[in-house]
């Protein structure tokens, strides 16, 4: 009887409006995809931009992985010219049909069908930025589904041939979270140590937050608070984009420690960042 009650009588629902017709995940991916479609749909021809600012028009652009060179076909003469990757600051190539197909599947919430196609894009269009776009969608899907190992694999693939500035910050964040989840402590520690050398406050704040996540994953909740979450909250209060997450994680760590100060964190989150994703989850 007791077991039944526990299973079925759970806490009451949180109130009205607790259903969503479209999953949060799908909506986000579609926003990204839409932005990319708009991007891709721009009427620019293929071209590359060199590091000195020169724009080189092309009828097609391809990338040779082994040699790390871009081959640009001149639209007028048809001649192919190679450019080493380190000279190339930006690449614009036609949107692959595969990518369009993948977006359609994501829209229809057919993630399991979309994944192999997105992986094909990552594979076939390495170095042409479409791998990064596809990789971002893949990482988001895998992150949402808790597939940390896949997140790492995709990130490693797309960063191998892409310039760092092409890789969205979110992707790096998912990657770092995946490292923590898969217990790749040495790698994440190195990364955090590098970030802590920066004098860029948002990077420092993020490093502290990640440090907290790492310590929490090792079960060191108090350390996670002292060297991670509380540090972020107190010393980086001006870095607004990390505060809701830091407050939320501090709250959870304190709850797990049975510390009633968790309520204080909850109130701060609700008061200062009421519209944040983290506040909405606890309302």
């Amino acid at each position: 009887m007791t077991k039944m009650r526990t299973n079925l009588s759970g806490p009451p629902p949180q109130g009205e409006g607790n259903s969503r017709m479209t999953s949060f995940l799908t909506r986000r991916i579609l926003v990204v995809a839409l932005a990319l479609v708009t991007l891709g749909a721009g009427a620019h021809a293929d071209h590359i931009v060199l590091t000195d600012g020169t724009r080189v028009e092309a009828s097609s652009v391809s990338f040779k992985r082994q040699r790390k060179t871009y081959t640009v076909v001149d639209p007028e003469t048809g001649a192919a010219k190679p450019f080493p990757a380190k000279r190339v600051a930006d690449v614009r190539a036609k949107r692959p049909a595969l990518f369009t197909q993948a977006i359609k599947l994501v829209k229809e919430k057919k993630f399991s069908e979309a994944i192999p196609i997105l992986n094909q894009v990552v594979e076939k269009y390495a170095g042409l930025r479409w791998d990064v776009y596809a990789g971002k969608m893949l990482m988001e899907i895998h992150s949402a589904q808790g597939q940390a190992a896949e997140v790492i694999i995709v990130y490693d693939s797309v960063t191998r041939y892409s310039r760092p500035e092409w890789v969205a910050q979110e992707m790096t964040r998912w990657y770092l979270d995946a490292l923590i989840k898969t217990g790749q402590t040495a790698k994440i520690k190195r990364r955090i140590a590098d970030m802590l050398k920066s004098d860029h406050r948002p990077t420092l704040a993020m490093a502290r937050l990640l440090n907290g996540d790492l310590l929490a994953s090792e079960g060191k909740l108090k350390d996670a608070l002292i060297d991670g979450y509380l540090r972020t909250i107190i010393l980086y209060r001006g870095v607004a984009n990390v505060q809701p997450e830091a407050l939320s994680k501090a709250m959870k760590a304190l709850e797990n420690l049975g510390d009633s100060r968790a309520d204080r964190m909850r109130q701060m989150l609700l008061d200062k960042y009421p519209d944040s994703e983290y506040a909405r989850k606890i309302k």
Binding site: M21, L235, L270
Partner: protein, 1025 residues
């Protein structure tokens, strides 16, 4: 003190030019921008910089942890600092913590230990303590330390300490200014100047000194004012001789202002016009600097803005004088001339056609507004310009110029204050808000700023000023149709700030204020609902209920109405008021029926079914379960809009099918209407069991993967057993063990069977099944399983059989820890059987076996009660005393082994102590103990609340018995406030009535001296907290 000084500053500046307040603000701006010094305060820059950013960071972190209430974590960080840095740094960090906790004696003791009393680092620490005094509003202590400091260096300053002494002296001067001790501040600045600071610093100090003298002069009269202004004038000229810079500009403005204060407008005008070209050059330098730095904040310091504003203001005042004179004038022509003169001052002399001379109020003011938008003068100019336009309109003069939209201007003025608030620099933020609010108290932008200001005061723990702000918001805006909603939001926000900082009582008070002054605010229902949620989340249902009921009763049209009804139902359920819960759920479901379908209806129906079941209303429960099954079978999709809801409905469906079968199996009577064709003498109990079996089987066949499918098969086995159909029973149990081998049901088939029989009220059969377990061959059931059986029997109060189970389990085990647990259970069981001596023996055996047992506290509770009961029935006084003493000793043990943070156990122990005192006949002591629980335990803590309530129920009857009417009345009134829907509400009202009747007018009940006795035990041992 600082706030009072700031407010005094604002209030005494009057409505003239607001010079003092504005200059104070500008001074702060200058200070920050020149970035040489900063206003002192515990929370601001360090006294002696160690130059190492990482150390400063750690200190900032330590401070921050303390402020957030994590003093324990701050100590941990301090220890890590200790490991990495030298003694001075560590000492500073320790000081930081001590000062933040107000422990000044210990801070002083720390500094007293230092070997060199006059070194820079020692002085830095002494001044850190002085700054701490200032932050803690103890200015006399601060002044005492700083005076000693100034005295020590008044004659000579060692070269290596020059910068330190200058910084500290300047900071002291600034604090004196903030405290309104201007004369002292001037003296301190004089000392500063004598010590030979660098040139740029000297000029800043000079201008600030002149500022102070001007302010003092404004407040003075006659010869005193003259003397002060003369000194200020002298300083200004000295500055001007030193070069053309920001201070030069300030000095020129100051000289003009002094003329204005003395009523010499022409003199002021002459100075401004004379200096204007030079001030414009200074302005250009500021522009270049701002561009270079990429920060236009410094442009707010331009002297040109104030000068142009002053010119405009002078013209305005001249105009007003002319208009006033015109009204007094009897001669019409002269009057007309005066009117024209006034207009010329406002809009300029007509030169040709429509062209006018630009030397007029409106021109100057617009100029300032447009060209110098970041300055305070921009806002003031805008205000005055609008006033002029209104005035001209009243006089029938149409001006082709738009009134200035002050919204953005005012918002810009608050920008700095907002920035400080975001940095949690509450002191500076409050000053900045106050200064700007004094200028713009009524604008829509100001409403939010008032809430920000209140937040600053809350953080600074200045209750008086919070009250002032809240009252102001209500008085000024609650009836303003455009701003009342905003003002109400602001007040509600202040309440939330208190709640966030854990000042629950204040939060409640501010919320009550919000409800009373902003009754029709659209957020009232949501706020009330949220307050209910705060209690509901902590499972304090009786405190949550009144909020939800208020939403139900007063806000039926609000968006949270339905949710409130649902919560009311859950509150009653949580309070185990089943009848009320059932009524509430029924009402809620009826209302839901009028809405579009939603999953909440299914969940509520299921909850209602559970309530019926718990109340023994089996037919009603059956109907609900059957109804849910039918509804989900026919139109399930309407009630699930997401995967989560689908999953929830699935679980409910499975549960409903299971329980429907169970309800049927419990039926024994024939239905009211026997279906056609059914014999009237049917064996109905048997029939129902067969129907139940059919239902269970249908369920398992439909949902074999359900978590409760094994339980259903267990029930089938049990029912077949009852029907004396061993084949069917065997088949069911075989299927259970074949298809669900790893489940508890499969592994404990006999146990499950016994349990099911108990739940079907077949106690005899159940006990037989249990005994079969105990009697079974050794090894068939482990000691743990038999112990579990015993626990189950204990739960259903079959103490005899439970005892047998535990004793059997002890025989089966050789594990010391298991034996320990079993002995504890035997002790519990014997106590429940009121075999107190037996209970004592079992527990003492347990403690002998394991003196440091993890169950010491639980054991102590049993011993405490058992010894007390034995004592009560003891023959001799000696034996009574001995056993009561043992009981008390056991309770002391509970306190010893329970952490102070474990409020529930300590509250329970307090109650136990009081109960033992009652048994002991120590009525007064017992009443003292109950009252201690009542007064010191918190009703908002869910762990302490039930004990507080229990203490109340015992204390008040004792008070009434001993005719302590006043105490009884007060206690009942408090109870009815804190436990409005509590268990003893009805009794409380009755007792209150009884006490009130017996209180005669004017006769205060004098407490007995005896009531002040120290209660026995807990207080002396430090327990009970």
């Amino acid at each position: 003190m600082l706030m009072a000084a700031a407010i005094t500053l604002i209030l005494t500046s009057g409505n003239g030019t607001g010079y003092a307040a504005t200059m104070a603000r500008l001074t702060l701006n200058c200070v920050r921008n020149v970035a040489v010094f900063c206003v002192a305060g515990f929370l601001m820059a360090p006294t002696a910089g160690y130059g190492d950013a990482s150390i400063e960071r750690e200190l900032e972190y330590i401070r921050g942890l303390n402020e957030l209430g994590f003093g324990d974590y701050a100590s941990i960080v301090l220890e890590s600092v200790r490991g990495k840095h030298d003694g001075d740094v560590v000492a500073r960090a320790e000081l930081t913590i001590l000062i933040s906790q107000g422990k000044f004696d210990e801070a002083n003791a720390l500094v007293a230990k230092r070997p060199n009393k006059n070194s820079q680092s020692t002085w830095a620490m002494r001044l850190q303590i002085a700054d701490g005094h200032y932050a803690w509003s103890r200015p006399h202590e601060m002044v005492r330390v700083y005076d000693t400091f100034i005295e020590s260096f008044s004659k000579a300053v060692p070269e290596n300490m020059r910068e330190f002494v200058l910084n500290a002296s300047y900071r002291y001067a600034q604090m004196l200014v903030a405290l309104g001790q201007d004369k002292r501040a001037v003296a301190a600045m004089k000392t500063l100047l004598l010590s030979g600071p660098p040139k740029e610093v000297q000029r800043q100090i000079q201008i600030e000194m002149a500022d102070l003298l001007v302010r003092m002069g404004e407040a003075a009269k006659g010869a005193e004012r003259k003397a002060l202004f003369a000194r200020a004038d002298e300083i200004c000229k000295d500055i001007q001789w030193g070069g053309q810079d920001l201070w030069f500009g300030r000095s020129a403005v100051m000289m003009a202002h002094m003329r204005v204060v003395e009523g010499d407008r022409d003199g002021a005008r002459k100075i401004i016009v004379g200096y204007l070209p030079m001030l414009k050059a200074i302005h250009q330098s500021l522009v270049a600097f701002a561009q270079e730095q990429g920060d236009d904040h410094v442009l707010s310091l331009t002297p040109v803005a104030e000068c142009r504003y002053l010119l405009g203001k002078l013209h305005y005042e001249d105009a007003m004088d002319a208009f006033a004179a015109a009204e007094e004038e009897e001669d019409a022509q002269t009057a007309r001339r005066l009117e024209t003169k006034g207009e010329v001052h406002l809009i300029g002399k007509l030169i040709t056609g429509t062209r006018r001379d630009k030397n007029a109020a409106l021109y100057h003011l617009y100029n300032v507004f447009v060209k110098y938008p970041t300055t305070i003068w921009s806002a003031k100019s805008g205000q005055t310009a609008n006033r002029i336009i209104d005035l001209l309109k009243e006089r029938g003069r149409e001006i082709k110029i738009e009134k200035i939209d002050m919204t953005e201007v005012i918002r810009a003025q608050f920008k700095e204050a907002r920035a400080k608030l975001a940095q949690q620099d509450f002191k500076t933020a409050a000053e900045a808000y106050l200064a700007t609010l004094a200028l713009f108290p009524d604008s829509p932008v100001s409403v939010n700023s008032l809430a920000d200001l209140a937040e600053c005061y809350v953080e600074l723990q200045d209750e008086l000023y919070v009250e002032l702000v809240i009252e102001y918001l209500a008085d000024r805006f609650s009836t303003n149709p455009e701003l009342s909603e905003k003002a109400g939001d602001a007040v509600a926000r202040i309440a939330r700030t208190y709640a966030r900082l854990d000042y629950k009582q204040r939060a409640d008070e501010v919320n009550a204020f919000f409800f009373s002054r902003f009754k029709s605010h659209p957020n009232v229902p949501r706020v009330v609902f949220r307050l209910g949620e705060d209690q509901f989340r902590n499972k304090v249902y009786d405190a949550a209920l009144p909020y939800y009921e208020r939403v139900r009763d007063e806000h039926a049209k609000s968006s949270v109405y339905l949710d409130a009804l649902q919560r009311i139902a859950y509150c009653y359920s949580g309070l185990e008021q089943t009848k009320a819960a059932i009524t509430a759920f029924k009402s809620y479901i009826e209302l839901l029926d009028k809405q579009p379908p939603r999953q909440a209806r299914i969940t509520s129906m299921f909850k209602l079914a559970e309530l019926y079941r718990g109340a023994g209303a089996l037919n009603s429960a059956y109907n609900q379960y059957a109804g849910i099954s039918k509804l989900l079978a026919s139109s399930r999709q309407k009630y699930e809009a997401s995967p989560d809801e689908r999953a929830a409905n699935q679980k409910i469906l499975e549960g409903s099918m299971f329980w429907r079968a169970r309800m049927v199996s419990l039926r024994t009577k024939a239905p009211k209407k026997i279906p056609k064709g059914v014999p009237g003498d049917r064996d109905w109990p048997r029939y129902y069991k067969l129907v139940a079996i059919k239902y269970y089987k249908e369920f398992v066949d439909a949902y074999p993967k359900s978590e409760i499918a094994p339980a259903a098969l267990g029930q089938v086995g049990t029912l077949y057993t009852l029907l004396n159909k061993p084949v069917g029973a065997r088949e069911a149990l075989d299927r259970l063990q074949r298809d669900y081998p790893d489940t508890k049901e499969a592994k404990n088939a006999l146990f499950i069977l016994a349990k099911n029989l108990l739940e079907l009220n077949q106690k005899k059969e159940a006990v037989a099944a249990f005994k079969q377990m105990f009697a079974g061959e050794k090894g068939r059931y482990s000691a743990g399983q038999i112990m579990e059986a015993g626990q189950y029997l204990f739960g259903v109060k079959d103490y005899e059989t439970a005892q047998q189970a535990f004793e059997r389990a002890i025989d089966l085990t050789e594990d010391a820890r298991m034996t320990e647990r079993l002995l504890l259970w035997i002790g519990k069981t014997l106590r429940a059987k009121e075999d107190y001596k037996g209970a004592i023996a079992a527990i003492e055996k347990m403690l002998a076996l394991s003196p440091k047992s993890a169950y010491t506290v639980a054991a102590a509770f049993i011993l405490a009660r058992s010894f007390a009961e034995v004592a009560k029935d003891a023959g001799s006084d000696a034996e009574k005393k001995m056993n009561f003493d043992k009981s008390t000793k056991a309770i002391m043990r509970i306190f010893k082994y329970t952490k102070p943070s474990n409020k529930e156990v300590r509250a329970r122990a307090d109650l136990e102590l009081a109960d033992v005192q009652v048994l002991r006949g120590q009525t007064r002591e017992a009443l003292g103990s109950y009252m201690r629980i009542w007064l010191l335990r918190s009703s908002s803590n869910p762990q302490e609340r039930p004990f507080k309530e229990a203490a109340f129920s015992k204390a008040v009857p004792m008070m009434l018995e001993t005719e302590r009417w006043l105490d009884a009345k007060d206690t009942c009134e408090e109870y009815l406030t804190e436990f409005a829907a509590g268990k003893y509400a009805a009794e409380a009202r009755k007792w209150l009535g009884q006490a009130s009747i017996n209180i005669t007018g004017g006769d205060e009940q004098e407490p007995d001296d005896e009531d002040e006795d120290e209660p026995v035990g807990a207080a002396a041992a430090g327990g009970g907290q």
